[in-house]
Amino acid sequence: MIKTYDLEANDFTAAGSISSDIKKIAKSYGMSVEMIRRVAVACYEAEINMIIHSHGGQIQLNVDDDWFTIVFRDTGPGIEDLELAMQPGWTTASLDAQSMGFGAGMGLPNIKKNVDTFELLSSPKGTLLRIGFRQKGESV
């Protein structure tokens, strides 16, 4: 199964609606409650990151027998220093984002904590985040 969503930058009204849909899909695949929560939290953090920091992009969900994979692909401006971005508490979020309850610098570390696979690539042309969850033998 493959499902693709378009995401607009700074659209806080819709923020979380894609993650909510993906959470429902995870439920429909009979995942455990704990696993569904991990999917939802990681997905929501990544969706919020795209809304706050990117020029917009796409989120694609891929489900097969073994893996539940979500790919977040935006069109820039990229993450300048990936190592810094992975440090808890480090943030470049605007005051607007912070007033919405986000931008504490916990997004990427929290995503990594909840997933089985984590791949992050970035350039000024865009950022690609691929996260995966093993459907069997739930780990983390």
Partner: protein, 126 residues
Amino acid sequence: MKLQSMIGLLQATPVTVNDPYIAFKEYLYVSCTDLMSDALAMICTNPAQTILLTGLANGQALRTAEMMDINVIILCRNKTLSEDNIDLATSMEMNVFTTSLPMFEAVGLLYKEGLKTATRNDDQNL
């Protein structure tokens, strides 16, 4: 502590209630923050017995609770939801209350009644 008692203690009023039996359910834990990133970064001990206590009255507080499987939010300082967010809360079957108390006082009252922190900081595992 039954939610009904908690509501009485905090003199809270309903903003939107989507489970008619919610007041009779037992809650043991409180997740207390205005920063949703912090709420999401912590591990929820038992979401079915956890309330989110926050001063953030927007869709992101609702979404954060939804992602964490929490179904009761208490807003501090007389905050309430917009009509759009009441609709969103209804679609999620979320139950939202508001109290005039500031967060510090609300937390203090709940702590004195024996409620525990819902989350533990897991930074060392990041």
